[in-house]
């Protein structure tokens, strides 16, 4: 039963009603993508567990990740130390839990900012087309072709290894791909008639880009975000492995593997457990994003 009041709002919908409806369609777009491919839910579930462990690290970690205990150096896994201890006698499990925080924070911040900046760049390039597009995308293509690890390496080497600088370095490497990701659907949507209709109706470029194009490309960009978050976590670990991660003694997964690698012949667990941790997180994100991408990729629609 509709009460008289809802009947009135249904007939006289306000601006906010429409905004809410539009936002809901973007959300529904992502949700439908989840439902199209069940593996995405599995990926999401694993990732949520990892994220919870990271958030709760201060509560659930059995030891302080920085506490050195010279008496318990390089111990294999045991009841007291499930994943063993490192060269300084620090508990590997606790360091992995705390390391998750670093990985996730850097990854999320870097990809979040790269997503915003890259989408803006790609949308502007695709929307205006012509020489603007040519110029922007040539620059992006060169950056894109440049090995992201090398790019990150140089930037961190220049700025010095801190969380902020790692975020900057990694987001720099992820901006070009996001500009590409955003540009392709922008172009196909720009050529749809509702954009030309918008011009005929006297809408401004800003309105057309943000009100009409952005909501349509958002699901695709968000979905790709999960795949790039996986990449960001991998790059952060790689940089730390090379020695350009957040400064020791802070626990990072890449740094732990680096230290473990030095003792690989007699204490393999030092490298093994953080390796598995990276693998699980990256795999869960790839699982999540891969299923979603198939669902939002218009080229793959059609026969199931």
């Amino acid at each position: 039963m509709t009460t008289p009041q809802t009947a009135v709002t249904a007939r006289r919908p306000s601006r906010m009603t429409y905004y809410r409806l539009a936002l809901a369609t973007v959300g529904r777009g992502v949700f439908n993508a989840f439902n199209a491919n069940k593996t995405s839910w599995v990926g999401l579930a694993i990732f949520v567990v990892v994220a919870l462990l990271a958030i709760l690290a201060p509560v659930i970690a059995p030891y302080d990740p920085l506490d050195q205990n010279i008496l318990y150096r390089l111990k294999p896994p045991s009841e007291a130390h499930w994943f063993g201890t490192d060269y300084y006698g620090r508990d590997t499990l606790s360091r992995i839990l705390w390391g998750a925080r670093i990985s996730l924070v850097i990854g999320l911040l870097a990809i979040g900012s790269a997503m915003i900046i890259g989408t803006l760049i790609g949308m502007v390039a695709g929307y205006f087309g012509g020489r603007t597009d040519l110029l922007i995308m040539q620059v992006m293509d060169v950056l894109l072709a440049f090995p992201s690890l090398i790019l990150g390496l140089i930037v961190v080497a220049m700025l010095g290894p801190s969380i902020t600088n790692l975020v900057i370095a990694i987001s720099l490497t992820a901006i070009p791909p996001f500009s590409r990701i955003a540009r392709a659907p922008t172009i196909s949507i720009k050529n749809r008639e509702f954009i030309e209709a918008g011009h005929a109706l006297g809408y401004s470029h800003i309105r057309l880009m943000f009100r009409h194009i952005l909501p349509n490309i958002a699901p695709e960009v968000l979905v790709m975000g999960s795949l790039w978050l996986a990449t960001a976590i991998r790059v952060e670990a790689s940089l730390a492995f090379i020695g350009l991660g957040v400064n020791p003694p802070t626990a990072t997964w890449g740094g732990m593997i680096r230290e473990g690698f030095e003792n690989i012949l007699d204490s393999f667990w030092l490298a093994l457990f953080p390796s598995l941790a990276i693998l699980i997180v990256v795999f869960s994100l790839n699982l999540l994003g891969d299923g979603l991408r198939d669902a939002v990729d218009p080229r793959l629609k059609g026969e199931e």
């Binding site: 009603t17 539009a22 369609t25 749809r192 008639e193 030309e196 005929a200 026969e303």
Partner: protein, 598 residues
């Protein structure tokens, strides 16, 4: 009586949708005799293409199910194993598809793609196959065959690709040719050539033809017998003359009522609505609209729009597309001027240039006395309110993530035409005006049919209270019955609001129903302009004549006498940089009837 070539008996095809089997074709029976052409007619969703794919067994096996029987000269096709069925495909049955631009493989040479059939089914070696392809190209009248078979599809025009497709389908002298909307994507003069070609070849080879189309004109031109389909069911099966003379089923009646017949309005001067169409068929033919034309609103003088083609080492201009050349026209309040022509003739660019959606190279565009070309940003914004446009694609012209009410309210808000509180009422009013409900405001475009979407687009344009609407192929993508309804709406609005339309269309039969005047465009120029009845009944320019003659008439009794098989292609408006347009002027041949020198 010998057995028919094709016997379809109790054919039911279902698709798996949400884990349930959904029939798309139900219990279909029909036959095609040797040398006979049977047209399968229906609107979108009638299952006509699915029928063809079922006969060929080209549907995905997992997600589709075919029941009943399909016999080709006595062989049960549904009972064959896949290997034997492959011998039938391309061998006993040839097939041509609707989209000539995508139906050929872009990375293989055309000659190779045709030779492939010969090598597969007739066991020819490469040399023999090439010789045979040359013969086939001559058969389908592809000029310069020797050179063209070494080319890739992208250098073929749409009409030539369709010829290549036909030669491929006929390569093995099939018993049956299935043509699935083979001319729908082609221009009308090219369509006439292809129809003639199919008819000619059928006479030579003597095969049976199953011709799928939605166009009653094409049906009348080509078929011997007609099967009418509606949402998966056969509703009528009759000889073509009987069907047009005395349609039995209400749906057939409605379908025929919705199809305008070129020349049907005789020497009248004003548009005429389509008869009322409903479940019982078509109502009586209505009267012409009253003449409510007022003073001149829009005057375009010497409009020229060019696009530069760049290329070469430094991306320098290498040529120009002369999209619009020296077009002059006027439009009065309450009047409809139709711009007709084939693809690439510049009719759409003319419309867009007048709204300055593309920048003309030169023109005077006087709208309500002001020159839009000299207008600044603010003036142009105001002018755009009074000068609106509706587009072709009812699926593309609405933002899929914007509720319909919001789409209609947005222009009002952007131009600050009224207070925020007053807008919802105005939106309801506009929705009612185009025959929709106020409750529809909260729905999204995908919840509407094509015709409803076009109504929404019209409502959105009307939100700005325009005087002139440029309608660019606005009804071309719609099914015939829906097309008739939308045109009736447009005519109602013209009468009520005094709207002027610049009606851009390739469909001359529809143009006759809606227009007061017609301008015919060729290669960017207007070659003939004048009152509708003068243009259609007394065309002067050879191109206008050719265009009108190419339109298929939905009446088998008036089947056109076609001349020799033509292979003219559409000319390209791309010119070298130093091209100078030869001087030509237009001279009057009657009142308001001008023809370009030829």
């Amino acid at each position: 009586m010998t057995e028919p070539i094709l016997t379809v008996d109790g054919l039911t095809t279902s698709f798996r949708v949400d884990k349930k089997w959904q029939p798309v074709v139900r219990d279909l029976d029909f036959t095609i005799d040797k040398g006979e052409t049977v047209a399968i007619v229906g609107e979108s969703g009638s299952g006509k293409s699915v029928t063809a794919l079922s006969i060929m067994r080209l549907l995905q096996p997992g997600s589709s199910r075919i029941e009943g029987s399909v016999r080709l000269a006595g062989t049960d096709l549904l009972g064959l194993d896949e290997e034997a069925m492959r011998d039938v495909r391309g061998g006993d049955i040839g097939m041509i598809f609707q989209e000539p631009m995508t139906s050929l493989n872009p990375v293989l040479k055309i000659g190779f793609q045709i030779a492939e059939v010969l090598r597969r089914h007739r066991g020819m070696d490469a040399a023999a196959a090439e010789a045979e392809v040359l013969r086939l190209f001559d058969l389908v009248r592809i000029p310069d065959a020797k050179r063209r078979l070494g080319e890739y599809p992208h250098s073929f025009s749409g009409g030539m690709r369709q010829r290549a497709m036909i030669s491929m389908a006929l390569a093995c002298q099939p018993k049956l040719l299935i043509a699935d909307e083979p001319t729908t994507a082609l221009d009308v003069t090219i369509q006439a050539q292809i129809l003639e070609l199919v008819r000619e070849l059928q006479k030579e080879i003597g095969m049976a033809v199953m011709f799928i189309t939605h166009d009653m004109g094409v049906v009348a031109e080509i078929s011997d017998r007609v099967v009418v389909m509606l949402r998966g069911d056969k509703v009528e099966d009759a000889a073509v003359n009987d069907l047009f003379a005395a349609p039995r089923h209400a749906y057939t009646k409605m379908l025929l009522g919705a199809v305008p017949k070129l020349g049907g309005l005789g020497d009248t001067k004003t548009p005429r609505r389509f008869p009322k169409l409903d479940a019982d068929g078509a109502g009586p033919e209505p009267q012409n609209e009253p003449d409510t034309r007022g003073k001149t609103l829009l005057e375009v003088r010497n409009l020229t729009t060019r696009f530069t083609i760049r290329g070469g080492l430094l991306n320098r201009p290498v040529g120009n597309v002369h999209a619009v050349e020296d077009v002059s026209l006027t439009l009065a309040a309450g009047e409809t001027l139709a711009l007709v022509g084939e693809s690439g003739c510049g009719k759409s660019t003319t419309g867009r240039s007048i709204l300055r959606l593309v920048q003309p190279a030169g023109a005077e565009i006087l709208f309500e006395g002001k020159d839009l070309m000299a207008a600044g940003h603010a003036e142009l914004r105001v002018a755009r309110r009074r000068l609106q446009m509706i587009f072709q694609d009812p699926y593309g012209s609405l933002n899929p993530r914007q509720a319909v009410g919001s789409a209609i309210a947005e222009p009002i808000r952007v131009h600050r035409l009224m207070d925020d509180e007053a807008i919802p009422d105005r939106v309801s009013e506009l929705l009612n005006l185009v025959g929709l409900e106020a409750e529809h405001a909260l729905r999204f475009p995908h919840e509407f049919s094509g015709g409803q979407r076009q109504r929404i687009c019209i409502a959105r344009s009307l939100a700005l209270e325009p005087k002139v609407i440029v309608a660019d192929e606005s009804v071309s993508a719609l099914d015939a019955s829906i097309k008739a309804q939308v045109i009736n709406l447009m005519l109602d609005l013209q009468r009520e609001l005094g709207l002027a339309y610049l009606f851009i269309s390739h469909d001359i039969a529809v143009v006759e129903r809606v227009s007061h005047r017609i301008a015919v465009m060729l290669l960017g120029e207007i070659v003939e302009i004048g009152p509708r009845d003068a243009i259609l009944r007394n065309p002067q320019h050879p191109y206008t004549k050719k265009l009108i003659e190419a339109v298929p008439i939905p009446n088998p009794a008036e089947k056109r006498k076609r001349g020799a098989l033509l292979t003219d292609e559409l000319k390209s408006p791309v010119r070298a940089l130093d091209w100078v347009r030869p001087a030509s002027r237009m001279y009057p041949v009657g009142e308001g009837h001008l023809v370009r020198e030829f």
